[in-house]
Symmetry: C2
Subunit: 418 residues, 2 copies
């Protein structure tokens, strides 16, 4: 994309009403727009980052056999009453609305009930298992206090997957397979090394733990205890001597950290399927309960966590896999030769499938370099009268100071073999 | 995808609570799930169709320079009050909700106001024009009566684009360029020949017409008058002698038809930008009004229209461009050789980028053929003991009865050169 055609602009000053670094940087770089507290719109470059994260999450859910679908935001009351999750006293963060005739509706905050209901006519026999279904969708939660930018929103993007199994053993297998997919997601996003599978409370209807995925971060709301050697953590809420013994962990090896929950996986046992009256028939013709698991990843929250983690005093520093573009071409000066060379390089990169931002604006070098750094584009190429003269342009990584002098073919090779 | 792994199943009987053919067929084929009247979830195959339509729409909006963003569903009251579109007496199909502190919020039904507001800090100078921005997003409208399946929903997918121009002449250019993109969208979806650009009422604040795109269909709610030679239509609401004269159309050449509105483009003049106090500064430093246009395409409605149009007594008949898969492989019998050959063909097609549904279920031929037809997959290949013996499988188009006997390479070539 050419920057003369992009409508967003960067701003020098952090917005006064944001204290979280992720929101400040993303707004300054023109990636997001604040609609109200906890509700952000995604502008073109921000939407690209969000879509790149979605793609990684989607690919890993597909790898384990996840079938993508799209449930609805508007929710009928009756299915939620069956599980006792409609009453505002039981679930305190619903947004609710009404049909013209007065019928109350919910605005989707999660989808266990509708997923079980939608699958009920398809999943009837032991032959129909195992099943993973998932969606990547906007969720709505009426948080009393939205805070920390993209980390705790009222409207946010979530991937939620659900598994259905015939029995506990089959469930356990699905659960672990999903856990492995989760690790791959965080690895591919570049935060694998600082993200811990964390034992947490399993909720009121199970003796089991649930698993959170906690990324170490100063902005984190959770206190966790980390065994760095075993790469396992325990949430403070279940950090007891008894549980440590059960998990084979030693208190002396555990280090206290702040974490942001970037995912959770949860054994739901047969709570929702039983409550909604959805069973299957086994080989002997007997009615059996369905064991369910749920698996959440906060996609927009991850974007916030990544912005916090991959940034420095100059701005964002996106990893290649999620950057809105791979290369920033800074054209300096407006001599015809410079314009022609910059345009040619831009076309060459785009044809090779390397997404480029071409800064063709009438601005000084410092401003262009500042924007390239603030936007966090992984590579920057300078095309100026001097570089055109020598036939070699200045190519530099966002994270390094070393400048490579390369011709167009060299730039392509540098970017492809990086 | 292998059908033993797909959780959806087809059903023989049309759902009793649906009268519209599109909803009946899509539910029978397992493409959608009805959550409540006017609110449908998209199951795996249905989601693929929806995404294929989105891709075509997206590509054409990008072609004219559209910048994709994603506005929010939750809407603050204040910006809508500025244009007098908050009050339920003025706009009667809002869904509204409340923050925990009682603050009223809207649930997005359209996005003129938030788009103008989000762009206001970026679009300040004459240098910042022209601009097209668009999104593809769920919209929510509190319809008194949801009906006609996907054609009039309470929750639906819409592409909405907005153009911002410095003056009327620039606006007119943007408007026509978008109109051309719209024609390409309907052509690519296979309904170009039955979709008419239709003069319609421009609304209360302009003397101009708006343009609707009407697809001829018995299920249509609109009455239009079509000049089939000039490929132009006029909506009944503006079908007067005076207007016909203005448009250079002759009453004798006009034929009355039923149409479904599958898109509309609208000159907004400076109504929203002025009301929200968003102006630009021209070359002389003078404050100027911004001329706006809006461009809608009902993406999920289009899926319904396409299901109505591309269907026969056996089920759906998707055009290649939007089919959930290109080929249906019906494996007949469970001899090892048959399984191996079917699997090999499946892998060969998928490797070549040709999406296949492999029916590896233990069902009779008639049931597999029935499902292939109901789902509307463009091509069907039969792999049986007989075809494995001869080395040539039976390849057939959904719309033709002729059977081609082809080996795997022949099938690939047939599908690629079709």
């Amino acid at each position: 994309m050419k920057l003369t055609q992009l409508f967003t602009k960067t701003t020098k000053n952090a917005p006064a009403d944001e204290t979280a670094r992720n929101a400040q940087l993303l707004i300054q770089a023109g990636f997001i727009h604040k609609e109200m507290a906890g509700v952000y719109a995604y502008l073109p470059l921000g939407l690209r980052v969000l879509e790149n994260i979605k793609t990684i999450v989607r690919e890993e859910m597909n790898t384990v056999g996840g079938q993508e679908l799209m449930m609805t935001t508007l929710q009928p009351k009756d299915i939620w009453e069956k599980t006792d999750r409609w009453d505002d006293k039981k679930v305190d963060n619903w947004f609710k609305t009404k049909l013209a005739n007065g019928t109350e509706l919910g605005v989707g905050l999660t989808h266990e009930e509708p997923v079980v209901d939608a699958l009920s006519s398809f999943v009837t026999s032991y032959k129909d298992f195992p099943i993973y279904v998932y969606q990547i969708q906007n969720k709505f939660r009426n948080e009393l206090r939205a805070k920390s930018g993209l980390l705790r929103g009222r409207e946010f993007v979530m991937k939620d997957m659900y598994s259905l199994a015939r029995n506990q053993a089959e469930h356990d297998e699905l659960y672990e397979k999903a856990a492995e997919a989760y690790s791959r997601v965080y690895d591919r996003l570049g935060i694998g090394a600082i993200t811990y599978r964390t034992y947490a409370d399993g909720g009121i209807f199970t003796e089991k733990f649930s698993d959170e995925y906690q990324t170490i971060s100063d902005i984190g709301e959770d206190t966790i205890y980390v065994d760095e050697t075993k790469k396992i953590a325990v949430n403070k809420e279940v950090y007891t001597d008894e549980n440590l013994a059960k998990l084979g962990l030693l208190k002396d090896s555990m280090v206290e950290k702040r974490g942001v929950e970037v995912g959770n996986i949860f054994p739901l046992e047969t709570k929702y399927t039983d409550a909604l009256g959805v069973y299957y028939t086994d080989e002997q013709g007997q009615r059996q309960s369905i064991v369910m698991g749920c698996y959440g990843i906060g996609v927009s929250r991850l974007m916030g966590v990544l912005a916090e983690h991959f940034s420095d005093d100059k701005g964002l520093v996106w990893p290649d896999a999620i950057a809105p573009a791979m290369v920033y071409i800074a054209q300096l000066g407006d001599e015809e030769k410079v314009l022609a060379e910059a345009e040619e390089l831009y076309n060459q990169l785009m044809s090779a499938g390397i997404e480029a931002l071409y800064d063709d604006r009438d601005l000084r070098a410092g401003q262009k370099f500042g924007d390239a750094d603030l936007m966090g584009i992984p590579y920057r190429v300078v095309v100026s009268a001097k570089t055109v003269e020598s036939g070699k342009h200045e190519c530099k990584k966002r994270t390094e100071s070393e400048v490579h002098l390369l011709d167009n073919d060299g730039i392509l090779e540098f970017l492809i073999t990086k």
